[in-house]
Structure formats: C-alpha cells, structure tokens
Symmetry: C2
Subunit: 196 residues, 2 copies
DNA sequence: TATGACTGTCAGTACTTACTGACATCATAT
DNA sequence: ATATGATGTCAGTAAGTACTGACAGTCATA
C-alpha cells in the first residue's frame, strides 16, 4: 500500500492508479482495487475524481515527466562525437525511465486514451530533430562523415529505444549494469561508424 | 467480418480473437464481439473452445510462427559483412511482421498469458547467439574488428527491435521513414563500424 | 464549542460479462 | 429417409463493474 502520511489522498490515488494500470491495463484493474491500494475507500475515489477515466487522465497530467531534451543538449554538448553521444544516450534513458509507467500504460491502452500516445512520443521526436541537426553540424565541422544524417539519427534512437523496450517489463526501477554496458559499447559503434 | 467460405468455424474464431485482442486487449473485447466478428454465435465459441482464455491460448499455438532464423543463416551466409547483415535484418523484420499481432497481444496482456512473453517479445535468444557467433567467426577470419561481439550483436538486434516497435501501431512516431531505407542505412553504419 | 472539509460505511442501481442448458434448424452422408 | 454433426436461438445465472445517495465519523481551525 502507498504510504499514507507522506502524500495527499489524491496523490495516493493517482499513484496507485498509475502503478496498477501500468501493470494490468486499464480494463484489468477495478476502481475498488485502486482505492484499496491507496488505502482509501472507493467512495473517495469517485468523490475526488468523478470517474475512472478522469482519474487516469489526471494522473497522466500530474506525473508525466515532460522536460524537454532540447535545452539539455544545447547547453552541454562539447562537439566530441563519443562524449556527446554518451550524454545523449544517458539523457534519453533517464527520461524514458522516469516515464516508464506512462509508457507502459500508453502501450497497453493508448487507443483508449486520447493524447496519450502523442505525449509519450514527444521526446523521441524532439530527440530526432536535435540529433539530426547535431549530426549535420558535426558534418559541417568536418568531424563526421557526410551521409544521411536523418537516418543515422533514427538508427541511434531506435537502437536505444529497443534497449529500453527490452527492459520495460523487467520492473527494475534503477538503471541496470547491462544497460550501462550497452550504452558504452553502442556509442563506441556509432562513434567509429560516423567518424571520418 | 472474416470471410466465411474459406476458413473453418474454429479458424474464423481464432483469427477474430487475434485481431480484436491485438487491437483492444484481452479485457477490452468480449466473447460476443469475437463471435460476431467471426460471423458465428457466442454459443459456438464456447462449445468449441470452452473458455475465452482457452480460445486465446489455442489461437497462439495455431498462429504463432516459430523462429526459423538459425537454419536460414547457416545456409545463406556468404561471409561478407554488409551482405550478411542485410539478410539478417530483413529476415528479422520478416519474422517479426508475421508475428506482429501476437507481439501486440503479448505486450498488452503478456502478464495474463503464461508463456506468451517468452515466445514473442523477449528477444529470440536464438538470434543473439547466432549473431554473436557470426561476429566471432568473422573476427577470426580477420574480417571484423576484435571487441565485444555479444554487445555488438545486442546493439544490432535492439536497433532493429526499436525500428519494429516504432511501426507496431498504426500511429507511428516517425511515419515518413520507410523500413527499407532504414535497413539499408543502419546496415551501412554497422558494417563501417565493425570493418577493420 | 461549533463549523466545515474530508473520509468511511452501507445499501443499492444499472449494466456488462463469461458461460450454460434446452431445444430447434439445417445440411450432408449413408 | 433418417441419423449425425455442427450451428443458432433464447432465456437465464452468477459475478463483477462503474458509479450514486444517505448518513455518520473524524479532526483541525475559528
């Protein structure tokens, strides 16, 4: 049960909803279960949120981690391919892990939840733009081979997306050792492939 | 509705179940809906399959394509890195696309269905082994740099997994990009990175 | 002490769902 | 012509669901 003294009733309900729906799907969990997991009565749930659907939508608004990747990059890039790709990869996995449960919900019930998919795919799209532009800029500096920047960016993103997806249901809240290994090696691969 | 004259009643029920459950999830679709989509009565569904759960399990046994990658590779590899990676990539996407709906079901309701995950979403251990061994053999032939073959194989697999996952749902994150384009460019990247 | 915000209990509604039994229909094969 | 097998109709059960209303308890603050 979600600890009672630290959070408000509403937050406890929202967190319980996220946890359970991410695990069992929207139709796989009842409002009674959610209320019980929050240590509250079903009545309170409906009094405060009106409907199950609204509970989930509110939960998404409240807990979706929406910080943009754009700012991070513009400030921290040092224009060394391997260093920058490492930063990008780590930042990506960090954000994806924060939104892990939202992404699980989006995968299971995205069709039922208007706007869910768009928001969970916001980061990947931003990332693609940023990374494509980064590759182009590096290319102009002569630090990168000149080819298809967009497709290279996509390949890098999808590689990391695949890695993330593979660990999605492992339920490991903290980054695993193998993920770090993967990041190091995969960045090496791309750095070697794209260096002139 | 699934065409009536070409398939048996049971097959029509199984196909309807796969279609609807892949779209809406196990708990999101009723037996009445499934029967209607198959052009049959709900009674027939229960007469022939006993339960909704058994219907889905039977559907999986009937329509899940087993992994035949091992054989393909051993027969067709020509020990040219780019050529072989192209074959591997195309074979992978071919098999994944065949199992597309099973994978969707596995993602949405894998927790409820024993054995489902292992057979679909979790990457064919087979492919990883085959690719790792391929990299090692290429390395011994002097056609590949000597580094971490296992991580390189994982990176390549996850890159393709990410690409596949991105196209899984009708609502694609990067709709303008064709799969074939991606395969060509991504294989080039890896070929360049791993060539001595 | 009294007020108001918040929560719980309980009984209940209207609906859906998985699943069943009794009986009828219909085509095909012998 | 009749037996067989697969299917449909219909009525129904037991359980679960989201959600509500009436009423009472708790607790901090005015």
């Amino acid at each position: 049960m979600i600890s009672s003294n630290k959070f408000s009733s509403n937050d406890r309900l929202l967190m319980a909803a996220i946890d359970l729906i991410a695990e069992k799907g929207y139709n796989g969990v009842s409002t009674r279960e959610i209320a019980a997991a929050a240590g509250l009565s079903e009545k309170t749930l409906f009094r405060n949120f009106g409907s199950k659907q609204n509970l989930l939508e509110t939960a998404f608004e409240r807990f979706h981690y929406g910080e943009t990747m754009k700012n991070l990059f513009n400030e921290k890039l040092v224009w060394d391919l391997e260093t920058d790709l490492l930063l990008i990869s780590r930042t990506y996995h960090d954000i994806m892990n924060r939104n892990r449960k939202m992404i699980q919900i989006s995968l299971k019930d995205g069709a039922k939840l208007p706007g869910f998919r768009e928001k969970t795919s916001k980061h990947p799209q931003q990332l693609k733009e940023v990374l494509t532009n980064y590759f182009k800029a590096m290319s102009e500096k002569g630090k990168l081979i000149e080819t298809n920047s967009e497709m290279q960016a996509l390949s890098f993103i999808w590689m990391n997306y695949g890695a993330f997806m593979n660990n999605l249901d492992a339920d490991t809240t903290f980054p695993t050792v193998s993920l770090e290994e993967f990041i190091l090696e995969s960045v090496k691969i791309f750095a070697r492939a794209l260096t002139p």
